[in-house]
Amino acid sequence: MSWESFLYMGGYALYVWPAYGVTALVLLGNLFWPVWQRRQLLRQLTIKQKRSQVR
């Protein structure tokens, strides 16, 4: 099977690939959003802690 016919999905490419695309976006979002948020929070907390040590 060629790449072209694989991507063509028997004529249903416009339904199959968006379905897989939406799934990938939602799953990646739910996975990396908390990771990113945690990094932000840890950075803020570190800054706060350093300030309190200086005083």
Partner: protein
């Protein structure tokens, strides 16, 4: 809890202490990710490439490899949330509250995916994006339940009180789960009946069934990874001023 054997109870106390849980999550996430990626790779390869074209639905049926596992996860995660809600209400266990609220966006995500992929499958097969059929409607209600849990938790300032309210909502909403599951049998409408859960004789060929089950297990592992990540964030948010977070910051600096 005298009826629980001492080692078991000790295990739960240790595991559910925030710093211990945080470290444990860090240790497990890489392994879970490796297993998830292997299952996902095998499932996608089997489903999109190896599995034959369906004689009735053509290649459009390949949406099944995400649609059905996502729909299963949407129910599974809600039941998990209700169980966590029960534990949180009875034993006041902080970690159960954290796991409940961390599960909600992931469950909402899977419910959304099930609805959208179903719509993208329905258009070429049924000729419509949406019908107010029992299965579709009850799944949409599930999405609103998830969003309700998320916004209720966000609306109450005091997080222990918020967790109690959310636990009750999760438990009440669980009546929707059997309705979704049996909807295709109770009301005979457009959505097709079960293909896999008739375990004695599933009406699906092995070459199509195996990738489906691989994807279903892959999504379970995804849930574990995502919920641990979200729980780590939630624990940090709740315990900013505690000793273990301070120690964590010092270790990182």
């Amino acid at each position: 809890m005298s009826w629980i054997p001492a080692p078991v109870s000790r295990f739960f106390h240790r595991t559910s202490s925030p710093p211990h849980f945080y470290a444990l999550a860090d240790r497990f996430i890489p392994w879970l990710t490796v297993i998830f990626l292997l299952l996902l790779g095998a499932g996608l390869y089997g489903g999109l490439y190896l599995a034959p074209t369906d004689y009735q639905q053509g290649d459009s049926y390949r949406i099944i490899y995400i649609h059905v596992p996502a729909a299963w996860m949407s129910l599974f995660i809600y039941v998990m949330m209700a169980v966590m809600g029960g534990i949180a209400l009875i034993w006041r266990m902080k970690l159960a509250e954290v796991m409940l609220i961390s599960s909600a966006p992931i469950g909402a995500g899977f419910t959304f995916v099930a609805l959208v992929t179903g719509s993208l499958w329905g258009k070429p097969m049924w000729g419509t994006w949406w019908v107010w059929d029992a299965r579709l409607t009850s799944e949409l209600i599930l999405l609103f339940l998830y969003l309700g849990v998320i916004s209720l938790y966000g609306a109450i300032e005091e997080k222990r009180a918020a967790a109690r309210a959310v636990s009750i909502l999760a438990l009440v909403g669980v009546v929707n789960i059997p309705i979704i599951h049996y909807s295709v049998q109770w009301w005979n409408t457009l959505h097709q009946g079960p293909t896999v859960s008739k375990m004695d004789k599933p009406s699906i060929h092995v070459s199509m069934l195996v990738p489906l089950l691989l994807m279903a297990v892959a999504f379970k592992f995804y849930y574990l990874i995502a919920v641990l990540q979200a729980a780590k964030l939630e624990l940090l948010k709740r315990e900013t001023s505690s000793q273990w977070v301070k120690a964590l910051l010092e270790k990182q600096a």
